[in-house]
Symmetry: C2
Amino acid sequence: MSKTSPRVYVDTVLSLDATINLDGSQAHYLRDVMRLREGDAVRLFNGRDGEWQTRISATTRRAVDLEPVERTRPQTPEPGPRLIFAPVKKTGTSLIVEKATELGAARLSPMFTTYTDKSRLKIERLQSIAVEAAEQCGRLTIPTIDDPCSLTDLLAGLQAETMTAPSSAGPIFLADETGAGAPALDAMQGITETSQTAPAFVIGPQGGFSKSELAAFRQLSNVVAVDLGPRILRAETAAVSVLTCWQASRGDWRELNP
Amino acid sequence: MSKTSPRVYVDTVLSLDATINLDGSQAHYLRDVMRLREGDAVRLFNGRDGEWQTRISATTRRAVDLEPVERTRPQTPEPGPRLIFAPVKKTGTSLIVEKATELGAARLSPMFTTYTDKSRLKIERLQSIAVEAAEQCGRLTIPTIDDPCSLTDLLAGLQAETMTAPSSAGPIFLADETGAGAPALDAMQGITETSQTAPAFVIGPQGGFSKSELAAFRQLSNVVAVDLGPRILRAETAAVSVLTCWQASRGDWRELNP
């Protein structure tokens, strides 16, 4: 039952003595889409208190009340990688956010480069995509989505991190379309685990990085250029591929059957 | 110039003395979308004769004529894996076809399982998605898309292949959501290369395989159940992930820098 009951993210405290009151789109989803009624089970998580099985205690025209029954999963750290990406047209950016959430990214950083599509980025929309993906894939946390910044500001931030704590700065894997990178999996498997910091992955815009942008990345001491094979991947495919390579070789895909 | 010129798939012979006449949507694309004129460069491929640089020799209201200039890439074998998948709702199936093409799959086999969405599958639409993805990613071939078949027929076909030529049957990696599979990358890296046959990957429907379906797959001697980490991946994400794991660890992502 608890396996197949709907899973919903809330931002209120979850504990045995808390009644959770959902309204708006969440109440609509449980009552009108899933057609749940009093006594039905719903799983809740808030990114802090683990996952809870709850039961619907009341439904009204505008709200659904839930009573926690028991905590079914404790909150555990989810130290996923950071994905730095250039927004892409049409559904590409939504796909990147959805898939990166499924693949366990902890932080998503949109950046504007020379060849990036400059249409306005709706961060709130991306946040709701991340919430929905987290609900669906079983995560206990929602990835942080940074406000978009220019490549210049991004590089300054990365450089500052490296300068202030060179030993704790994690590797930055740069998807390099020029053919100069090492095969992605070899590069990731070859990294010595010296830092506690999760790695970052950088995916360029559909038009590629400019030469000076690539050169600026390469000046960072912890950047590793990686190659993603002989075909030209779309940005969202490249994002899924680098995160898969990491999770499969060094990340949490290996922790299940230790 | 030839790097950034549009790349178009045709199904006519490509040779120095052939004039290629495009009409319909391809002529519209070159003339009205890309705004190309007489003398402009276009790259053509047909899955047999390599890639050719051509120049537009004439445009009319209904057609575009192209004269081959030189062959820029010879036809080389592209022996990619086979992806067996259950169609998914909305844009999921289109994404699977597009991404599998980018990741080098040679054959795509849609199958209907107990929990598969049964909406009509438009194979022609999927074929045009595969063509577009092949044009964009630089492949020299278009993947074959099989007519959809039932899981029963699919299993009978796989079994027949294994029975008639057990030594040449490639591995079949089954994405197993029950947690019983080996970590995907370990399983792929652990396969001994005894057969010349490319591997197959099986991705179940959004609702998962039924127990008896999983059991039927496991009866095939060359099936390897693989695990794709602690989160529940959507079908299209799982498809990208298994193909990435293969290409990165055993496939053509490693052949560039031998």
